[in-house]
Amino acid sequence: MSAPTLDKAKHVKFWQRCHKSFLPTAYTASDSTRLTFAFFIISALDILSVPLTAEDRAAVRTWVLSLQHPDGGFCGSPAHALAGENASKGSANIAATFFALILLGMAAETEEEQRSAFAGVDRKAVLLWLKKLQRSDGSFGQVLWEGEPTGGRDTRHSYLASSIRWMLRGSVERGDENWVEDIDVEKMTEYIRGLQTYDGGIAESSTEESHAGYAYCAISALSMLDRNSGTPANAKGAMDSGIADRAMLLKFLAHRQFKYLSNTEAIASEEGSTENYLEAKLGDLSLGGERAYTGFNGRWNKRADTCYTWWACSMFRLLDADYNYDAVPTGNYLLDITQHVIGGFGKAVGEPPDIYHSYLGLATVGLIGGYDLKEVDAGLCCSTDTVRKIDVAREGMLESLKKQSEQRSGWEAEDFWGKAANVVKVM
């Protein structure tokens, strides 16, 4: 039996269709997260190495920047953004801001474009807004409403906050002119530390049900705090102080996978008969030449879902624990079971492809490697190529800020006015 393949051409077609034509009306229910969808579309094309034209890249920049809120952050979609004097009545959203920044990096091609990818982003406003989104317990809201952070206290917002901070903050020291008051990193880490549940997983709070998605966001939030933070290699990073019990967490994660019984699951799915994954007979080693599949779920006993291969496998990468899963049967599950004939991935067996699962399925295949896709970064969920561009953009942004402040001090310096006075005298 030959190994299953990624039908790259079909995926390219699927994403190009998403890029160039209207999404079906059913997506109206996701109208508030259009920036997120834009990220999925552009980033999928990036992972598939489909180059964008100069016009397309310019359109990404223009559109993303048109969603920037004057008081910091980016609005989730044009429905939430207002123009002109009403602009401040729009509402910025933490997820949208995260995706906007990555898109700006992604849309830059030449070295010069990369260096100025964040030009047009009001860095100071975003960072101050981010600070306002943090609650006193260390958690983050998703939207400021009447000046207060609102929305769940879950780790999704911590992850987004820590990534935005990484992208925009750079290594500016206190005392520097471009230093902006930071979020409370210690409180954030402490908050995440307190979310581990009795089974070793991570949930919205330590008393709720553990969930791989929240766990990913928690771990990723910590890892983004540690990413080129300039702390010495042997220093205790956020990853160490933010995870209460690593062994238990690994156990929780290792158990997100199970032997996926392709035949019986397909039947069960058609009948809609069960909420739980079907257990293989204990100790049944009779693979008998059948292809092996590993499915992943987000919670104990639940059924397999494409997106949890991403949340779990990328978390293994962040925890430096890839040995916990076998890439081959995992890839088999995605390529044989949820990869769709028209391109994209469905949520589970027999499901039509949707943007969300199609993206995370593709990203996982890129993460696993070996299928002619760009390498994928486990922390920012985009190509490492884009992460490199964002790194350049960070440097470029800080450099230009430095230049600006030098210019300012240049104008103010006595020397300058002295020279100017001389010029006037001569005239």
């Binding site: 229910a29 919205e204 330590s206 553990s210 909420e275 080693l285």
Partner: protein, 528 residues
Amino acid sequence: MVCAERDFTLTKRTLMSVASLHATAIRQLTPALLSSTATTDAPPVTVGERSKQRYYQTNPVERRFEEVGFPGLTPAEKKTYTHSRLILPVANRQVSLSNKTDREYWKQVTKEGLPCRRLKNNYSWGTDKHGRDVGTYRFEELKKRSLSQAKLTALTVLHRQFLLKREAARSKGAELPQEDIDQEKKRRQEMAALKRELYGEIPGPLGNDPEWDDVIPIPQEEPQDALARIAYTDDYAEAVSYLRAVMASEEYSPRCLRLTEHVIAMNPGHYTVWLYRFKIVSALKLSITDEIQWLNDVALNHLKNYQIWHHRQLLLDHHFANTLSSDAEAAKQFAKSETDFISKILAKDTKNYHVWSYRQYLITKLNYWSPFELATTQSMIEDDLRNNSAWSHRFFIVFSDPSHSTKGSAATEYDPKVPGAILDREIAYAEEKIKLAPQNQSSWLYLRGVLAKGGRGLDTVGDFASQFFSNLGAEDEEVTSSHALDLMSEVYHKQGEIEKAKLCLVELSEKWDPVREGYWKYRLSELK
């Protein structure tokens, strides 16, 4: 040019004047000046063809000029062509003459029959809603279109009269009679139908409702190359443009409440419409129970939506602060009706994360630690032993109840405040369920969780776990629960029996749970 065409054809009157312009221009030509080719043309079929023919009719020699150029014209044609051009600056009042000269001039023009009014070439009729050039219309099609346009104009006049009348009435503090408003509603429906027919404009139900006249909608604007464009329905696009307007003007009124409902029905994931709705409910001091009632239907229709439960939480907080905190009986009633609804929704979707989250929030907020909760988890676990959400809720009910637990105790931390009897009860419960389904992850995890809370070692359940395997390492090795092996590897390790501990992990890795081979090998490497 589309605008020009509309201007020309907007009213019957202007229609007439367009027609007379053509007619006059033609009349002013003497037969001799008419290009011979124009008269022999087949009668026009479309509006555009007629325009073209009239263009040639009012621009003598033009067609010949196009065919052969100026040098190719006969001397007479050259004269006509030049003269008919020379007269234009004066005819168009670009050059002003004295009265006397002016009279002379017109005398001459009339005598020679020169065309002083001429139609321009390539007249654009504009396009219709399908993007079709109106110039390709047949005459009867144009007639129909022009009639619709005239009808729309007439309705617009009446509509403006209504607005003026209403303004006058309102300035005196009065409202127009319902009859007028009803007529206006009907009129707007007709206007909407005409606008749709003519221009493809789709004014939705809000634009047709006089109640919304004072709101200027703020449509969502975006360029052609915007990303992730969605094929919005017209209804949604209109509702959102009104929502944007009332949110920007911070209006909190019953009509806005209805509008939020409309938008939520189409986009329940809208992250500020819910906050706005809550603001309206609190500003108008609306009944929280009514709002909850409404929310129940929405929740049943959108099971996976997160905002619904956040909204419910805000309502609970609000209700608690205003009423429930000072009325224990009302609080109990409310908690009861809420848990009833939650049970109803969990019956449809047993592992709904948001619902379970809200349930915890409710219990904590209203201090509703009733035996009923424990019973609920029990019956749900009996329905499905592998329902981890129910197990997780049970853990919360047992170990977060302030009457017998320490506030803020971490999930895996020993809590001395938990009575031994409760620990015994929970251990027995977990063991009973494990026996029913030895391979069920949830019950084993629960057992471990209870032991940690009680500060009891895993070895206290060593005997229990050992019943799920026999003759480990031998030919006739039998295992009925891989989780028992995992637990025993830890027990043996703690007891210093490293080889036995290793054997458990090796058997898991090679035989009983090979899907996690890498994990068990890592555990092996950690054993010292």
